[in-house]
């Protein structure tokens, strides 16, 4: 009897695992499960670095991701834009991803156009759009912005944009924020911007879970702070919303924390499946020996 159960479980159709994972993610979403987030030092470092900025400072927001990683990174981008808008800094958006321009427009629309209609395009924020060339773009604009950016994403001459006057290169920025999904992204900003100019560039980043382990070695000397995956997004979101939004925040400012509910249940299921799989393996081995 025991052997029959073991064999049945060992040959369980993988689709049952898929179904259980689907339910583990879907049910917390439907129930609206949310858990409190305690920010870790990495999120605090990122928050403090943005908090350090003064009104009118320049911030470059490199949104190097496309729809395939939007689930993880758009909560970070939203929180960064909200934080920058609250700090009244000048925001320069650009992307190294061909699929990035809609992500920039989405971040602008979700935060600036909706909640900060008083911010003026060209004076408070500008969309420099996408430039091809991967790390080559970073390598060039770190010394000469106009070499590649003669116009913004709307085709306006960069010299006619008030907030671009006086910006010779990326070194004129007070902070670089890289929200990145892979190549080209945060690693390239570290390699071609921060490392050659360690005293002039301040860099913080928010990255996908897949990328994060490769970037932790850069913290803290080459990267001041790093938000890893949706967990990092939720922590940073908690800090920003906690300080700047009174009362119940809008759904768009709770995306990170909202997605941690399904994370917890799905991770518990993963842990159970790993333990169950190993137990089953040992039971099968011991039964064969006996």
């Amino acid at each position: 009897m025991k052997q029959i159960i073991i064999n049945k479980l060992a040959n369980l159709d993988r689709r049952w695992v898929f179904l259980s994972m689907l339910l583990a993610v879907a049910i917390p979403i439907l129930l609206g499960l949310e858990f409190p987030e305690t920010p870790t030092q990495q999120a605090i470092n990122v928050f403090d670095e943005v908090e350090r900025l003064k009104e009118g400072d320049r911030v470059l927001l490199a949104l190097d991701y496309d729809p395939s990683s939007e689930g993880e990174l758009s909560p970070m981008a939203t929180s960064f834009v909200l934080h920058c808008a609250k700090k009244k800094v000048k925001m320069y958006f650009l992307t190294l991803y061909p699929g990035g321009p809609p992500m920039i427009q989405q971040a602008i629309q979700r935060v600036i156009l909706t909640d900060f209609p008083n911010l003026v395009y060209g004076e408070d924020y500008v969309d420099l759009g996408y430039k091809p060339g991967y790390e080559g773009v970073v390598k060039v604009i770190i010394t000469n912005l106009r070499e590649l950016y003669t116009t913004d994403a709307r085709g306006t001459n960069i010299d006619q944009i008030p907030m671009c006057q006086g910006v010779e290169s990326i070194q004129d920025m007070d902070l670089l924020i890289a929200v990145s999904a892979g190549y080209p992204g945060c690693k390239e900003w570290v390699q071609y911007a921060k490392t050659p100019f360690p005293d002039k560039i301040n860099l913080v980043a928010g990255v996908t879970g897949v990328q994060a382990p490769y970037l932790y070695p850069y913290v803290p000397k080459q990267l001041i702070g790093l938000l890893g995956a949706i967990k990092g997004a939720a922590e940073y979101e908690t800090l920003v919303v906690g300080k700047y939004i009174e009362g119940e925040p809008k759904a768009v400012y709770q995306e990170g924390r909202r997605r941690m509910g399904p994370q917890l249940v799905a991770h518990l299921l993963m842990v159970f499946l790993i333990i169950a799989g190993n137990t089953l393996y040992f039971l099968q081995s011991s039964h064969k020996k006996s």
Partner: protein, 286 residues
């Protein structure tokens, strides 16, 4: 009843559910997209805007919502097995992506980086009104990338495909040179520098034991991992012990990477389900 029939019924049932939500949702939000005008731009409207009477249904965005939802279901159907719905969605993604990247490539690479340099006056009138019509002193040099680009296209002619090797060699050479310097600076030298940390950290009040442990553990881990990859001597005795510790550290690193990857993948699933429940069917528990 075949599996295909079962699967077809499941998908149709899901769509029927969305239709019924669209028809009978009391707030008239399910299956519809509302927009409002802000500074001449159409942006997504919420319930407050609708109650204020400044929002209206956007038919093209509503169509987009339904297409996105149906394609999401088609992709999910692969979890059961490969099927025609999945194939249609997959082919559409490939086709749309290829077209998108071609258009982006033309408008963001060829037009501003090549044509605008060679003939700025024409490009200013045609596509980039913000561009200065005067040719830059270095503009003529852009003939070289134009020729290299044409040589690269020779790949499409089998008898002359060898010509494409020359620009390819140029691309590989410059990229390798560019990256070598960056890796040496940012990863090799800087990482060595970052590893120079005090094993015992002193503070004003005494020794910071936790930071000292962290630093010591990091140095021991780095050294043991390096010993594991040191194949010039046989891994016996003390070397074998250190090497084994190195393997343990590597395994823990791979475990952490796996955990982070799982977190990322679950977030991707969560956003699609959120989209189906919240945006499409307007099931919002919060």
């Amino acid at each position: 009843m075949t599996e295909r029939t079962v699967w077809t019924i499941l998908i149709l049932a899901m769509i029927a559910m969305a239709f019924s939500r669209t028809m009978f949702d009391p707030s008239q939000s399910a299956g519809r997209e509302y927009v409002k005008q802000v500074d001449g731009e159409w942006v997504k409207a919420d319930l407050i805007d609708r109650n204020a009477g400044i929002a209206e249904v956007s038919y093209d965005r509503t169509a987009g919502l339904w297409i996105a939802a149906v394609f999401t279901l088609c992709i999910f159907s692969f979890m059961y097995r490969d099927n025609p719905f999945y194939k249609v969605a997959e082919s559409t993604v490939v086709g749309v992506s290829a077209a998108y990247y071609m258009v982006v490539g033309f408008w963001s690479t060829l037009v501003p980086n090549l044509f605008a340099k060679l003939m700025p006056g024409v490009i200013q009138q045609w596509a980039m009104p913000g561009l200065s019509p005067e040719i830059e002193p270095t503009g003529i040099y852009y003939i070289v990338p134009l020729i290299l680009g044409i040589m690269l296209l020779m790949r499409l002619v089998p008898s002359m495909s060898w010509i494409s090797l020359w620009p390819l060699a140029f691309i590989i050479g410059t990229t390798a040179g560019l990256r070598m310097i960056a890796y040496l600076e940012a990863d090799f030298l800087s990482q060595i520098e970052n590893s120079f940390v005090p094993l015992i950290v002193f503070t004003e009040t005494g020794i910071d034991y936790w930071q000292s442990f962290q630093n010591t553990f990091m140095i021991v881990s780095i050294l043991s991992c390096l010993v594991y990859f040191f194949f010039s001597i046989e891994h016996k005795g003390a070397v074998a012990g250190v090497s084994k510790f190195g393997i343990w550290i590597l395994m823990m690193t791979f475990g952490a990477m796996f955990g982070m990857t799982v977190m990322g993948r679950i977030a991707l699933l969560a956003i699609r389900l959120e989209f189906l429940f919240r945006e499409w069917m307007n099931i919002r528990p919060y």
